[in-house]
């Protein structure tokens, strides 16, 4: 229990940078902190851009047949309809990714889901450790000033030192 002994500890690895994959680490991290857990998230590879000041996460419907393509407006029956858009189209139509991203953001907003920026802010406010992978930064050519304030830089050992005492560890 949280009252006696040390708090529960959760260690997450965020390795994906698309809009849909950005949600799980930020939702779990902010909620874990709200449940009095000590939380650290290690942002590595494609997950690292999620810490950038200018968040550009998009959703990629191409090659993702599990993603329901639905419209966030119109009558209920229309909204429930899943558009059968084949890969051959979503992969070649210019701007399709931006269109799908915009649709997903509208749907999320209409369902009262927080934006990634809001969840990330909640993490910063509740002292979640946000660890950016130094190696990824070097490989992708990012600078420390590209990242939000509160970003801590480190490597595998920095994450593992925290994760060694974690009660929950997830790779996302």
């Amino acid at each position: 229990m949280s009252d006696n002994g040390s708090p529960k500890r959760m260690a997450l690895i965020a390795s994906q940078g698309t809009l849909d994959w950005a949600y799980p680490p930020f939702i779990l991290a902010s909620t874990g902190a709200a449940l009095d857990m000590e939380v650290a998230v290690f942002f590595t590879f494609y997950g690292l851009p999620l810490l950038m000041k200018d968040l550009k996460a998009k959703v990629a419907p191409h090659a993702n047949p599990a993603m329901p393509m639905k419209m966030p407006f119109g009558p209920k029956g229309f909204q429930k309809f899943a558009w059968p858009i084949p890969n051959a189209i979503s992969g070649v139509v210019p701007g399709f990714e931006s269109f799908a991203t915009s649709m997903m953001k509208k749907t999320f907003a209409s369902k009262g889901v927080a934006t990634i920026e809001e969840l990330r802010e909640a993490c910063v406010e509740s002292d979640v450790r946000l660890i950016g992978c130094q190696m990824t930064m070097d490989v992708f050519g990012f600078e420390q000033e590209d990242f939000i304030e509160g970003t801590e830089l480190g490597g595998a050992a920095t994450f593992l030192e925290f994760a060694a005492d974690a009660d929950i560890t997830l790779f996302i």
Binding site: M1, D3, K8, T31, A34, L35, D36, K111, A114
Partner: protein, 103 residues
């Protein structure tokens, strides 16, 4: 009031209940109201946690939500953090929780 031992409930604090506890059927008056209607997971929990941080120990926040998921989530939040759900109701697609800050 009789106390039953429930392993899932929050641990009891060493301090005894304050004197002047309201009658069992009377709803305690909230010290703060929080409107989470229209919000989805995990916002009601995040806002509740933040609101609890702004009230004193022993005070009560009233949270209203429309997300059915907030029912099990508030219960889990209470078990995990020890803040006590003193009353809970449901009606017209809305869920209402009175949560007392315990620490």
């Amino acid at each position: 009031m009789t106390e039953t031992v429930d392993t899932r409930s929050a641990p009891q604090t060493a301090t005894s209940e304050p004197a002047g506890e309201p009658a069992p059927n009377a709803s305690p008056a909230p010290d703060l109201e929080l409107d989470c209607r229209g919000m989805n997971c995990p916002l009601p929990i995040l806002k509740t946690k933040k609101a609890i941080g702004t009230i004193e120990i022993g005070q009560i926040v009233k949270m209203i939500s429309t997300d059915p998921g907030s029912v099990p989530d508030v219960a889990a939040f209470s078990r995990r953090t020890g803040h006590e759900v003193v009353e809970q109701s449901e009606g017209g697609g809305e869920y209402s929780f009175l949560i007392r800050r315990t620490k």
